[in-house]
Amino acid sequence: MKRILIPLWGDDIAPRFDTAQEVLIAVAEDDGRISDKRVVILPEASAEGLCNLILHERVDEVICCGIEDEYYQYLAWKKVQVIDSVGGPASVALERSAAGSLKSEEILVARGRE
């Protein structure tokens, strides 16, 4: 089981860790099933506040797009795995993470011409 947090922008992953105003917190079971999922609205966009929330919620993995090295290193030091530079719908990222196939720098959007 792992607890996953994704900074949100609507239904998508927020482009920046420090400017996200809501987050998705989910629990992924070992079999890849998502057993719990909730959206938390933050009182203000703040990287420090988000780091505190991550530690308070005992999150194991953060999926985000742009994150400053200071916060990345801090979370890594706190033994929180950070999969960064990921873009696209949060639900797709969550499924891929639960299945253990999500990697950093994956942009999960369709890139075809109309």
Binding site: P15, R16, D69, Y74, G87, I107, V109, R113
Partner: protein, 466 residues
């Protein structure tokens, strides 16, 4: 094949020019977006800035490539329409290397030949160099950084502008840590030489042979290892001010050479027969008693007369009365902000201890004590236990304190490590020792130091200790 590879500009030359080649030569980051704000093309400068190459960014929404602070709130593209003028805003981006980069973003519409909106073009200008420059220029003048309301320091502050207007040599005296360097720089900044260089050299920091070459320069081949001509600090300070700190430590033979220079302002580099005329103003400083040194034959009397044209004595902190409180508050405010601590204040006991301490190391020691307390304090209030042990020890003994001799400042510190006067060095050493004791386990090291793991992590990061 992606569109950016086949896009050409026609009509400028006989044959079409590849658009990407053209854009790559522009030193500002440029990105072309389609109407859905997906990246169609980005030039080399933007690749360097963001870390994305065109293949990776192609048809990716721009907010996942630029990651600007404006993306969620006030995207400049949303302010652009086909009839609007370009929109220019300042923001910051977080690139793939996880760096936050200040930028200026200019967004404009892209129209086809019939005037239809077909996309957007954004130029992203890296403002890092500019930000560094503005930080440098935004620094307050050294005169502003001399804090004090006491009569003694006010007397000094009042004469500095007048001294600055003359071009005479200045001798600044005062105990260690009283701010001689600040005053020297303030005089330079307030003088007509402010646009020229301010060159500082510590006469006590270099061995005699090196000091001569450092001050006066040398000619190629003057001695073994002199493979190039060296101009020397006097020539580097041409049209500016040369600040000789610890002038009392200047060896006697160099005192003669300095005297000779002060006579005619002509400089003879080591090994050269050709003299150079140099226009510098000399400011010298020392914590030693030069008259006593003259009496003992360790300093030339004629040089003292030359330097002593304008003399400025900086009072020790023990004679500045009310300034101690003022400086405590000033450093507490500044250091709290610097270390990103909450608004701290002293409790009555800590304040009483600090006000009764004699500060033999003067303002520098006061600043270091406050820095220690700010670092150690985890709450909102600095209490007595947050002060260095020697300050508390002084209070406990409550006896008259014998100030250490000026030549041997702060003997309570190990004599072999004068640099430890700075708290950063002490703290780094403490961290290293704790980590060694804990055999590399950071949580155990944090426990030894009495800090939380986060505090240890933050401090190690600040000192670059990995």
């Amino acid at each position: 094949m992606p569109a950016y590879e086949t896009a050409h500009v026609k009509g400028l030359s006989k044959l079409p020019i590849a658009l990407l080649n053209l854009m790559d030569e522009i030193p500002i980051g440029i990105v072309v977006l389609d109407t859905q704000r997906r990246v169609v093309m980005l030039n080399r400068a933007l690749q360097a800035l963001t870390g994305f190459v065109p293949q990776e960014a192609y048809l990716v929404p721009c907010w996942y490539v630029l990651r600007s602070s404006l993306c969620l709130r006030s995207c400049p593209i949303s302010m652009v329409s086909k009839h609007s003028e370009p929109v220019c805003v300042e923001a910051n981006i977080v690139n793939r290397a996880r760096e936050r980069v200040p930028v200026r973003v200019t967004a404009a519409p892209l129209l086809d030949l019939k005037g239809n909106l077909v996309g957007y073009i954004e130029s992203i200008e890296d403002l890092r160099a500019l930000a560094d420059h503005s930080e440098e220029t935004a620094q307050p003048s050294p005169l502003d950084s001399i804090i004090g309301r006491s009569l003694e320091i006010q007397r000094v502050l009042q004469v500095i502008p007048a001294i600055a207007q003359t071009d005479s040599s200045v001798l600044i005296t005062g105990e260690t840590g009283t701010g001689k360097d600040f005053v020297a720089e303030a005089i330079h900044q307030a003088s007509s030489r402010a646009r020229g260089p301010f060159v500082k050299i510590n006469c006590g920091a270099l061995p005699e042979t090196l000091l001569e070459s450092e001050l006066f320069g040398h000619q190629k081949g003057a001695f073994t290892g002199a493979v190039e001509n060296k101009p020397g600090r006097f020539r580097l300070a041409h049209n500016g001010t040369l600040y000789l700190t610890e002038i009392g430590d200047l060896p006697l033979n160099l005192q003669v050479k300095l005297l000779s220079f002060l006579d005619d302002h002509v400089l003879y580099p080591l090994g050269s027969t050709k003299g150079f005329h140099v226009d510098v103003r000399l400011i010298a400083a020392t914590h030693r008693d030069l008259e006593q040194m003259v009496h003992e034959g360790r300093f030339r009397e004629d040089l003292l007369f030359r330097l002593n044209v304008v003399r400025l004595h900086l009072p020790p902190l023990s004679k500045r009365g009310e300034d101690v409180r003022l400086l405590l508050d000033h450093f507490l405010r500044n250091l709290s902000a610097r270390f990103k601590k909450r608004a701290l204040q002293f409790d009555a006991q800590a304040l009483g201890t600090l006000l009764s301490y004699p500060y033999p190391g003067n303002v520098r020691e006061l600043r270091n004590i406050v820095e220690y307390a700010v670092n150690v304090c985890e709450g909102n209030e600095i209490r007595a236990e947050h002060l260095p042990a020697y300050v508390l020890e002084y209070k406990r003994q409550n006896g008259p304190r014998v100030p250490p001799p000026i030549d041997e400042p702060l003997q309570r510190f190990p004599a072999a490590a004068p640099a430890l006067l700075w708290w950063e060095d002490t703290e780094k050493r403490l961290i290293a020792e704790a980590i060694m004791k804990a055999r590399g386990r950071k949580s155990a090291a944090a426990q030894i130091l009495g800090w939380g793991r986060s505090t240890l992590w933050r401090k190690m990061k600040r000192y670059g200790m990995r």
